[in-house]
Assembly symmetry: D2
């Protein structure tokens, strides 16, 4: 925390002696400002500008909590406390602006996060970017069997080869027809209508740190689609980790690597830690996790999720 | 206004005598609830649910303004006053929920309006809707010459025929490849990547009346793209006009059919209405609308916009 | 789920046969529509209008997930799944509008929740409501010792009596001076400046179910201030429980009565369930929960929080 | 515009050659960073941090519009075009953070602007700031007669003296009682309940330029309450004017000093500029501005507003 801030938090009401400030600077982020981080085959992420740092969060929190807390917590401890207890407003005091190039299909998911500012490349004003995401022979992902929305494993070599060839043909045909339409004087806004979803777009995307972490939490998750996950991982591990290292550490400890225990799970786990397997089974039956007569596990996602948590604790399910 | 409301606004603090209410009902809207309004070749808009009516806006405004205003304005007058003076919060008290089917390219523009709730059909979970917006031979729009983002006129008959044929070929090839990918077990989330932007999607879209009017103001405008304009026009003229007729009338009078006069325009217009053409020309020169030595009109969008406003007032520009 | 909806979700793309709908109705909520629930000494909550029900959430989720999921989950199961996995957008499809009377001091906290629509009683337009929250002799809460922001226990009888008397005097003096200012023709917007924060205000407050649950999660919490907690409890237990009973049950099981385990806690708990107390202590030392040489518990909020979770599981901390 | 940006906008898709950037800097704003601008008797505004500049808006707009527009407009012209045509998203690319001290009554209005990030001084955690807005003898404003929410003129000297004396007494009594409650151990969250609305609070307030301009448009207006108007004027004329001078100029020309003409007004004005007073009168009758039989002006706010606009153009109403 800067000297000015310290002085201020010691005397918020009496005699602020508020001197001139300079903007917080994060040298580790300044170093990569403007440099493209490559993503996918032809995408990128660039940091264009930022406001604030770990210290800005502490500074904002100290305004809320007043003088009283200043000795109790050091800065890192305060940031961890705020993260653990979901006191989110101080994290909104940091802001970052990215320039990204991303396939439109991925951008469709991205833009669903409403709490951000956006300027996207317009294909009404300008000719569409001449690039679409391509898939190499070894990258064709198979539909996951257990998970309706995911993928798992990749297609065989010969299938992959055939798929990649057809992709190339379709993409170049679509571009050819687009270019032809433009040459015939068709309006750009209409000519673009049959471009593939894989076509790259670009945008400026500005977001505060709280909303960025929420985005990362959802999009770094293993259930997120591969493409957007790649962008999220780079934003997190390469950029936020440099920008606000104390926040990033707390986010990993208290969000990404934390789990929740529902009321149902807590009750069964308590029975198990007391050693009462019978009660655990009875509870599981009452939750419809097990067949009430046979005690056989039923097809039930909640039970499966709980078993995963148990195994993380080194406990075997008693059914 | 219902009796309960009247009673309430007369005695907000002393003795509310607040009786039970029933929800406001708009029979004209109830009649079309759930019925699809057709849009484009295969799109639609359906009203699924709504909350509030013209009266709900009056009711909310009366809470803000308290007892004092109740005799001055009648309901319609109050609504018109609120609209004219951009008192927007009472309009947020009405909410509507639509079910729409719309080409993804159009949806891309739609979703940029952030102040709404959205559930879109997921092509990760389900097979993409087997329909893409098609263009008939007479519907190929030419690029506007004066306006970088618009269109004007249509392509000739033989060009249109050729374009439509190629469109059909491209769309069916894209679908064929998509289906083939699925058959080969490729994950839905990846298989869809080269579907054309014209592919239809569906969504539930819920929005308050204030934000809906803002959407309509921008998307019913002649500069909006044809496709989204069709949706906006039907939402406005067919749905909002039935739902909140007094609001709709005020919106047309005070937003859609109003114009603004900037500081620069007001000064020139005042010179003209005083009959002082010389001063008008001098002002126009000082604004860089006219060449300072020759007095010739310069290529200047602001001057062109002003000339349009003048002609709406039946005044000829003096240059 | 209504027949129309069922039919629709079975045939989203092929042959919608979309018939006319009627608005979802919740008889249990209709019964209390408009009736004031009393809160504090002179506050209230009234439900003015609502949109949607448990079924509307299912309906919106089914649009997202398409046909594929319709047989797997029944409605209640789907709602529980959505809640457990933080799929929040379908909950935004329900909306509710309240009329509340609340002390301004409490309203100051309330209004910090930005994702809502608000029309508040204006003391610029109208004379301030002639009511302030009063405190009876037995209601003076003492400052909590362990918690800087909370309260615990109440003041003794004679202190309470003295405090209540002074409160009454101060409140009536403030009102007297306010009335006097108005009588002397002072503008209402200025006359009100020294009214106590305890003065009641009224507002219409409209919010979607997702944001309402977030509000309730924070404001029903034992750390929330007593006054706003009273409003939140009534909104939750008396109103949402009637409106969307399946959502309410899932919210209690998966939010209110769930807890989280951070990365640090999971590691210590795993050591304990394996019976390895030594490792648990070593981990706790490495987290700075215990003194590294003596092993004595340090003043550390995170350790104290973990001990609470352990005791909920019937486990004693090994330090 | 910096060299990097120029280079980029010339080659957005082909060969970006994206080099490292430095953050945009505005020396005129850096000079006042952290320095308090005094407001009212004991309030202030300080700029704590900012992101972006006039150039950042141009940069974001150029991403949207692509290469095509880069020669047509120079930077200032592009900013003016964006402002005139309500293309608001590029203005969201600038962000500013203030530290303000403001009476709670004024803060109540401020916080109604939801699109901002806020951390307010908490009187649950800390003792309330020992300062309340005082009114000098000459500052007691009288209720406006024509405008229910405004003020006009000030009270006489002897009345002012009496009012100021009572204010001082009430404020010190309220503080005394507050301090006494604290001394008796009453919880801060309850002790504060009867502090006057005039008590000062402090906050960090962070907002993007688009939303800040909207705030300023409403709060610099002559109908806004004096207190918040003072804050808005300083933010506008002292801070935004330094930060983004081209935006500020455009905002004054195209927002603050512009007016609108509704459909009704346009019709009457067109009749007048054509010299057809009779038609103007007939139209005014049809709009209910004049009595339909006598032609006498009726009590009608819309007519009065129009007469103001006419007189700004040097035209006399023909009734």
């Amino acid at each position: 925390m800067s000297d000015q801030t310290k002085e201020y938090t010691e005397t918020p009401e009496s005699n602020p002696q508020m001197e001139s400030l300079t903007r917080p600077v994060v040298p580790a982020l300044d170093e990569v400002l403007g440099k493209p981080f490559k993503v996918l085959d032809d995408g990128f992420i660039r940091v264009i500008d930022y406001m604030g740092s770990d210290e800005s969060i502490v500074q904002a929190a100290r305004v809320s909590y007043g003088k009283g807390t200043k000795k109790v917590h050091e800065d890192r401890g305060l940031i961890r406390y705020l993260m653990r207890h979901h006191h989110t407003t101080p994290f909104e005091m940091c802001e970052i602006k990215f320039h990204v190039r991303v396939p439109m299909d991925c951008w469709r998911q991205w833009i669903r996060h409403r709490m951000a500012n956006v300027n996207e490349y317009s294909t009404r004003y300008s000719v569409a970017i001449d690039s679409a995401q391509t898939t190499s022979e070894a990258e064709w992902r198979l539909q996951a069997s257990g998970n309706r929305q995911g993928s798992g494993g990749v297609a065989g070599e010969s299938e992959g080869k055939a798929l990649t060839e057809k992709e190339r043909y379709l993409q170049s045909l679509a571009r050819e027809i687009y270019d032809e339409r433009l040459k015939m004087g068709i309006a750009r806004e209409q000519a673009r209508k049959d471009l593939p979803l894989s076509t790259y777009t670009e945008a400026y995307w500005k977001v505060d740190l709280h909303n960025l972490l929420h985005f990362l939490y959802l999009r770094m998750d293993s259930h997120a689609q591969y493409e957007i996950r790649r962008y999220a991982e780079i934003m997190g591990h390469e950029i936020v980790a440099k920008w606000c290292p104390a926040v990033w550490e707390a986010f990993m400890d208290y969000r990404v690597n934390s789990s929740s225990l529902t009321r149902l799970e807590t009750e069964v786990l308590a029975a198990l830690t007391k050693g009462d397997k019978e009660q655990a089974v009875e509870l599981a039956k009452s939750f419809n996790w097990l067949d009430k007569t046979t005690g056989e596990p039923k097809k039930n996602r909640e039970r499966a999720e709980f078993e995963d948590k148990l195994s993380g604790l080194g406990i075997k399910a008693p059914w």
